[in-house]
Amino acid sequence: MELLIRNGFVFDPINGVNGEKMDIAVRDGKIVEKVKGKRVRKIDASGMIVMPGGVDIHCHIAGSEVNSGRLLRPEDHFRDFEPKTSVTRSGVGYSIPSTFTTGYRYARMGYTTIMNPSMPPLEAKHTHEELSDTPMVDKASYPLLGDWWFTLEYLRAGDIEECAKYIAWMITSTKGYAIKIVNPGGLEAWGFGDNVKSLDDQVPYFCITPRDIIRGLCKVNRLLNLPHTIHVHTNNLGKPGNYQTAIETMKCVEDLATENKPAIHITHCQFCAFKGEDWRTLESGAEEIANYVNSHSHVTMDMGQVIFTDTTTMTADGPFQYTLYELSGNKWVNHDVETETSAGIVPFHYRRKSYVHAIQWSIGLELALLIKNPWKIFMTTDHPNGGPFTAYPKIIAWLMSKKAREKTLKKINPKARGKSLLPSIDRELDFYEIAIMTRAGQAKALGLKNKGHLGVGADADIAIYNVNPETTDPSKKYKLVRKAFKRAAYTIKGGKIVVKNGEVISHVEGATMWLDVQTSEPAKISEEMKRKFKEYWTVEYENYPVTEDYLEISQPINVKASV
């Protein structure tokens, strides 16, 4: 099928296109120079914004913890459901939507690529089964590797190369995309109900520190030439005073960066930008973090913005989730995974009138506005931890309009309002910067060559929003902007129109991207490995890897490692 999108205002930051009126041509699912003939389907995008399809670098949409969250919370679904239509499957929301609904809701907002950030390797088949049932978007998943016993043992022995080979084996076997590290060392300690408190704490029984783990895996990441950096959820997440841990974490890999390329991604940074001694004296540490990021080039991060709503928190950070249970008294799920990781789930309601929650809301926006370079910070809610992804249009409005921020500021806890840095920030992002923070920057950080831009050869994943950048001042008309981003005029996935005027008109399956990491010699999956397998896991070696038939559409990406 051939498509021609005419006269739209194109925002394509990777190719430096800033709101120019131009045509975009599509053939066979790719962007091409031009298309001709009568059979070309034309879309009139005049007066509209044309952007690459949205890319989400971090959102929990599939796998065992997400599904336990769904099971835990029927009350989350009762009021939010979607009936079956002639093209779509039925499903439920709200903060943890069922798989089909997840796909449809992303597509309605013009998103086409989603990264699922925490996959316990042992349960990777589950994640992939759910991803295969998540339509409309291309997706990938990051295996949790920071507390894997192999990682801890090889790093402790100082054998980075051997460690790299096993990590390569693991990424390929679990059909993963990047190295995810969550509260390094803390999850192993949580096996016996403990935690680590700083980068230099010893991990019990393993004689290694979180600093060693982060540095070690950062080196491994470089040896393997992976497209994304290490993806780090810091130690001490969700604790007052943790902005220092976040800065230390970034500092500890400063010397490992090369050629001004990023070496570390700090995810949902809002949750690790707390200043203060305790909850009462909590303040924003956004300024300190922003200062650091503004003067260093080896870091990217995402916001983890908080939305005032009822949501479900879920992370692999078992000890943090336990703290959250103690704080809230809400129901609590814990799920530790042998030799690898843990997970926890607690429902949570962010309230405007709560001092802590209001400060958290402010921190997310402060980070996004104080970090000058939009290629370094991306828009997320750490779905569903800060709030559901369906709130992205709200965040866009806050980022583009001081008026929108002030309107919400008026309604929040007065003490928090007094402490918030937002009134002193005048910066309002434009559509170009929004395009960076919601797609181009994310695609670049992920090393996705065919996503996040509209250059010739890119995948034809395109979002068209019905808002005219020439006549609309987003600073004043932020409601219009919010509405436009909530319901895309068109979403085009792989060259096919899948959403029109915010309604799904076609159900398409998306591909699952994964890395086929080739090392010079594969990790010695020798008798030694098999023996360890028997000791470490309760499943057989043969039954562990995820075979390609678990992926509805498999899209391997070849990576040639330097080991």
Binding site: R89, G91, L122, K125, E129
Partner: protein, 485 residues
């Protein structure tokens, strides 16, 4: 002769995946590593109870028919039904369940799995309280206190203790099997001597076992793994335990709440709870708090005795409370090999783990209303599809009466009681032996089910049969929509 290794056993929720099969001429000659249940399943594939051809009821008799006719008839029944039931699912693959859910959505039926009659109450309580849990390997590596409550793994999940808990060898905890072996031998010898003595001298029947609860032995304070069993009767598992607490029938709730009070440091001003002296309970609580990593497994003895979901509520709360003092986790002992998988797939597609009603076009969940037994008792359904289950043999009589008074379609490898009452019977391949797929272990670890050899000629896997029915249903509905317009 061919040897297949690392086969996953499709029997119970333990889902052992280290089975070795010796195969010759499409038959299993020998099963290695498996328990008795595993062995008998693999060896019975070729038994005479197998159904090999689709059957359809004509003039009151089940007669052989073709797949085509059976599919057409089944699809017609389901497409025309107002409120059909789709039930079973716990003994088939996740891939088949996915198709089943789509079929239920397409025909606007109620879809339910066997959890409704086993761990349904557990799920309801998890939705109230949450659940601190883990995978089984975590227990192998770390647990120094293992408690089984209302479950008898020695008989129902025979390799559970050996593979995952007290007898397994972990990184931080060593296996306790030698000690248990000595103990079991001693107990067997003691029994033999006693019965010989009785026969020789007393010539009378064995005395009824005393229900007096013993004092906790000093061994429960030792280092290393300890096994405690709590049950209404002295099971085989209880015999090997370090300490057995015999709870009075239907008093589990009291006992659980007493433990909770003690864990929270409250005093009990009674002497006994559920037949157990309070001072013994205090000692057990000391052991629970003093362990490094404890696990409570619970079975149907807790979910289906008086109190049902309230028992589980108390058990979950007890374990949650224990986490204030140490690391403690809890896990239901799931029965069917893929009942966990059924809950899992239901949840990711619909948001709810069982008892899902699609009659309004979207998933609705209200156990007690949308659960299959209740629908049957209210006599609301008008057609039924059963996949890999035998409700006629184990549902309440009233429910069965309504079930069989409506058109009944069965997909099963065996001629079970439900199949005998059916209007249409599809023979299916044994998933995990004759068909590949995925199943979830009781701790939510997904494992591949292998296809070891081909099913008998003409017999299809559940997934394929369901796909054909679904395609036919869609065709009928399309035709109907066309006619209407």
């Amino acid at each position: 002769m061919q040897i297949v290794k690392a086969v996953t056993c499709p029997v119970c929720g333990s889902l052992c995946d280290d089975i070795e099969l010796v195969i010759e001429d499409g038959k299993v000659l020998k099963v290695k590593n498996g328990c008795a249940m595993c062995e008998s399943k693999f060896l019975s594939v070729t038994s005479e109870h197998r159904i090999l051809k689709p059957l359809i009821r004509k003039n009151g008799e089940l007669v052989e028919t073709s797949y085509k006719e059976a599919v057409a008839k089944a699809a017609k029944i389901l497409a025309e039904a107002n409120y059909p039931i789709l039930y079973g699912w716990s003994s088939t693959s996740c891939e088949a369940i996915r198709v089943g859910l789509q079929l239920a959505e397409e025909i606007g039926g109620v879809i339910d799995n066997t959890a409704v009659v086993c761990h349904g109450p557990s799920i309801l309580s998890i939705q109230e309280v949450g659940i601190p849990s883990c995978t089984l390997g975590q227990i192998r590596h770390r647990a120094d206190l293992v408690v089984y409550w209302g479950s008898n793994p020695w008989s129902a999940h025979p390799r559970h203790i050996e593979r995952y808990t007290a007898f397994s060898q972990g990184r931080f905890e060593k296996s306790g099997w030698r000690g248990y072996l000595t103990k079991m031998k001693a107990s067997a010898v003691k029994k033999k001597i006693e019965s010989a003595f009785r026969r020789a001298f007393l010539k009378r029947k064995p005395p009824s076992p005393s229900t007096e609860v013993r004092e906790p032995p000093p061994t429960i304070y030792r280092e290393g793994r300890k096994l405690i069993v709590i049950d209404a009767r002295k099971t085989r598992s209880a015999e090997i335990a370090d300490y057995f607490i015999q709870v009075e029938p239907n008093k589990d709730y009291e006992l659980l709440q007493a433990f909770r009070a003690l864990v929270r440091g409250q005093e009990l001003d009674v002497d006994k709870v559920a037949g157990v002296p309070v001072e013994y309970l205090e000692e057990v609580v000391d052991v629970m708090i003093g362990c490094d990593f404890g696990i409570l497994f619970f079975g149907l003895g807790l979910t289906m005795s008086r109190g049902k979901l309230r028992n589980i509520d108390a058990a979950l709360s007890l374990v949650r409370d224990l986490n204030m003092r140490t690391k403690f986790v809890i896990m239901p002992m799931r029965g069917h090999f893929n009942v966990t998988g059924a809950n899992t797939v239901f949840t990711w597609q619909t948001g709810y783990p069982y008892a899902v009603d699609f009659s309004l076009g979207y998933p609705r969940y209200n156990p007690g209303e949308t659960s299959v037994v209740d629908v049957l008792l209210r006599q609301e359904s008008d057609a039924t599809l059963i996949v890999a289950s035998d409700p006629v043999a184990n549902f309440p009589k009233k429910a069965v009466e309504h079930l069989v008074s409506n058109p009944l379609i069965v997909i099963d490898p065996h001629m079970n009681a439900t199949a005998q009452m059916a209007d249409i019977v599809f023979p299916s391949a044994f998933v995990g032996i004759e068909a590949a797929g995925t199943a979830y272990r009781m701790d939510h670890v997904p494992l591949p089910l292998k296809k070891v050899f081909d099913p008998p000629k003409g017999v299809l896997p559940d997934e394929e049969i369901l796909r054909r029915i679904l395609a036919e249903v869609k065709r009928i509905k399309k035709r109907r929509a066309k006619e209407a317009s």
